[in-house]
Every structure is written in C-alpha cells, then in structure tokens.
Amino acid sequence: MIWLANVKIPIGPQHPALKEPENFTITLDGEKVVDADIRIGYTHRGIEKLIETRNYIQNLYLIERICGICSFTHTQNYVQNVETILNIQIPRRAEYIRTLFLELERLHSHLLWMGVAGHEIGFDTLFMYTWQDRELVQDILEFISGNRVNYAMNTIGGVRRDISEDQKKKILETMIYLEKRAAYYKEVAVNEKTILARCQGVGILKPEIALKLSAVGPTARASGVDVDIRRDDPHAAYADTPFQVITTDTCDVFGRFVVRVLELFESINIIRHLMNNLPTGEIKAKAPRKVPEGEAISHTEAPRGEDIHYLRSNGTDKPERYKVRTPTMANLLSISEMLKGTYLADVPIIVAGIDPCMGCMDRVLVLKEGKENQPGYLLDWEHLRRYGIQWYAEKGGRIQ
C-alpha cells in the first residue's frame, strides 16, 4: 500500500469552481486541507502604469474598468482624490446621486454573490432567483445611465446625468419589490437546509485573526469586526444618511451570507432616504483640466470592503503615480487561514465566501532595498504608525 501523506492539489487557473483565473495549491492529508498557497497575477493588466500615460478625463474610463462589478466605487475614489487636490466643492445633488449609485451597486453585487454562493454549494435555484432580481437593479442602472455595467456616471466635479421624476418613481417602485424579495432571501438563508448544512461552521475566521490579517467589508463584519467606511469616515452623502452596520459573530460562511442579506435591507433603506430627500440644483461643478501638484488618498466602502486609492499629481494633465488597493487584496490573506482544517469539498464555497474579485486585485509592486528616507525603504509597523500620524497632522485627511 502506498501511503499518500500531504498530497498537493493544484486548483486553477482554469477550473470549473473558479470564475476567474487564480491558483490555489492545496496540501491535503486525506480529505483535510493542511495548507493552502495562493498564487495571483493572472489578470494583471498593468492598469496603474497605463493611468500614468493618460490624462485625467481619459483615466475616468480606465479606472472604471478596474472592476466590472464594483466599477462605480473605483471612479468614486478617483474623483474624490482629484477633487481633493483641486479643492473644489461638488454640488449636494451630485453627492446624493453618487451615493445612490454606490448603493445600487452594493445591491446588485450582493445579489450576484448570493447567486454565485448558491451555485458553489450546488443550489442553482438560488442562482436563478437572485440573478433574476439582480436584473431589476441592472434595469434601474440602465434607465439612469444608459449602461448596465460600466455606467460612466462620475466625472471630476460631479455626475454626468441627472435623475428625473420618472426615474425616481421607478427606483422607489422597484425598491418595494426588492424589499419583498430580500425578506424572502432572509428566510431562505436561515431556514434552508442546503445552506445551513454547507455553510455553518465552514471557513472559520476568528475576529483576532481577521484583524491581524486586515480583513475588510462583509468578511470582517461576519467575524464580528465592526468596521464600515460609510460610518467611520463618511464619504459622498453618507454623513446625513441613517443606516446600521450589520455584524454577526458566527465567523463562518453562513455569517457572511447573513451579513450580505441584511445589508440588502440597509441599502434599500438608504436608497429610499436618498430619493425622498434628493436636493435640487446643479449636478456638476466646473473643473480644470490640469491638476496642481499634490497628493491625496481616498477610501470608500465597496460591496466587498474598503477600497483605497492613492494619487500623486505633478501639475500636468496626467497623474504621476496612482495606487489601488482593492478589498479582495485585503481579504485574500484570510482565505488561506480559513481553508486550514476544512475538507477539500468546501474549498469552492470558502473561496467564494469572501466574494473574490480577482480582476480588481492584481497589482505589481517592485521593492528595492533602500536606505532610510530614500525610495524603496521598508518601514516597520512603529515607523509606519508614526509616519501616518505625522502625515495626517501636517496635511490633513480627505476631510479637512
């Protein structure tokens, strides 16, 4: 008899369980996962470098295509950065429309995730149901912007399209229906045996490990980490929008399911509030083509978690450096922690549990050995902390 201890199984880049190219090398002892190694880089398209070769208006369209699911949150970060450096105040109506899009995006992204998660646990009925309802959100997006996926709504200084009374009426009507559906999904999530059997106790991520590995978004909130950029550092119109931050303490895939279902209700309520209190006025402030020298950092709460963008401008019409840290990048480290000790058959649902978006995530950073105060010098935690405090004290954050 041959004793097969610690067999290594490669999953990906092309694999039926994966929707995007990535590679997991799973080390198995029998059916149990001992170790999981993640390899990324298959979808690296060199976006950060391309951004440096295009002007600020062209970059809007490029940055929108960092991700095809949460495209609005990326442009939101980008325009916030540029507006901070330009120091322009955007109209209130534009801020409300931006917030509306951020929330519509969260609605369709969470519905999409529930479908994909259902598919991964062999519950394709849920996939058909949620994607059918997701089409209604897509219809609204198309009705307002003319596009289903990359809306091209954001521009420097405001938004490009206004919301008419007709559109407002349709949005509110759709929300009534979607709320009913969300209530149904809530019932399904907590009562359906398939979901309970496949998700409860699977992919455990303890709160202290989630914090240590800097998990963000629903993944962190399902582990009881109370973090939400919408509340912690309000951007767009979130400061005057009432909502709750959903957390659970089950720390498993089931918790991530529940968090996302309950966030559907919060999003629906936010959209209602925005539509009922939509200020009148302009939708766009005038912005110059050239951006003065400066640097800005911006973060928003994307459907998957905190999305951070950094911009350094040099006074021309092109950025000097642009850096993107997408939520999947932050959550990816916790995957290998979640996988340890589970069964091979649970790997697809655990990977899908963080709602990975590899297309967003692939960045390259080349590090060179450098001396202190020179480019390439790696700061340790204490240094980085002091530097951060000093930076914020001198320049102020995004919110002045």
Partner: protein, 146 residues
C-alpha cells in the same frame, strides 16, 4: 451521417467560459445570459467546466502575458471541431488596455477567433446574438463542405 452530426452540433453548442484577464464585466454578462429572463439554454447552450466537453470557447479579456500560454493549452485540449467567440472590446482588440506592458491585445493574437461580440461590456442579448450568428456560420460552412 455528417448531417446528423451537424444537426446535433447545432442543437447543443456546449460552451466553456474562459477569463483571460478581463475586468469581470463581460464574465458577469455571460453568466447573465443563463438566467430565466434570457435563457440561453433554449439554444441548447450549456456552460461546461472542462475544455474536453466544450464545442465553443467563450473568451473575455485582453489576454495577459500570464494567461497567453494557458489559453493556448485550453484551446489545444478542446476536441475538433472547435469554435472561439471573443466577447467584449478587449477580447476583440485589447480595448482600453491597449499599450500596456503585459497585455497581448486581443484573443485573435493568440488563437483563431470565429466570432466577435463588441461592447464594453456587451449586453447579454448581444452575446446570445453573437452565439446564434456563429451557429448560422457553422451551418453555412457545413453546406459549403458538401
């Protein structure tokens, strides 16, 4: 005999979806063709997980350097006759990522393509339309062979 084979082929075009560095926009729209509203399955389309079962390779993305060899390998694993549909602007020409240091600039730079579906991303109905036009092309090609 060939008549029966072509008939079977036209009624059950099984597809394999492959992401070659796309932003996910097109991939989500491809999946959206399977939902009840559009129901691509009425044309016999079935999404398969392995290239060995597939007749049509549906590719998205501008083909990153990492995915180039892998795309070729997947294509080689498909049984003959095989067809390729490039979905989206970057799948057709590299689109917005043109000029990047790690992008090939379109599926047809790596493997032969039979149908292009332009759009960034194309609507699900456009993807179904592309597929149906490819099926018409296969039927036409079969007539010419006789």
């Amino acid at each position: 005999m060939t008549g029966i084979v072509t008939w079977a082929r036209l009624k059950s075009p099984w597809i394999l979806h492959m992401n070659c560095g796309s932003c996910n926009g097109c991939d989500i729209e491809i999946l959206a063709t399977l939902i009840p509203r559009l129901d691509a399955e009425r044309f016999g389309v079935l999404l398969k997980g392995t290239p060995r079962h597939a007749d049509i390779l549906v590719c998205t993305g501008p083909v990153t350097t990492q995915m180039k060899e892998r795309l070729k390998r997947i294509y080689d694993q498909m049984p003959e006759p095989k067809f390729v549909v490039a979905v989206g602007q970057c799948g057709s020409s590299g689109g917005i990522y043109q000029g990047s240091y790690c992008v090939e600039g379109g599926i047809d730079k790596v493997i032969p393509v039979d149908a292009y579906v332009p759009g960034c991303p194309p609507r699900p109905d456009a993807i179904i339309d592309g597929l149906v036009k490819l099926l018409a092309k296969i039927k036409e090609g079969d007539k010419n062979d006789k």
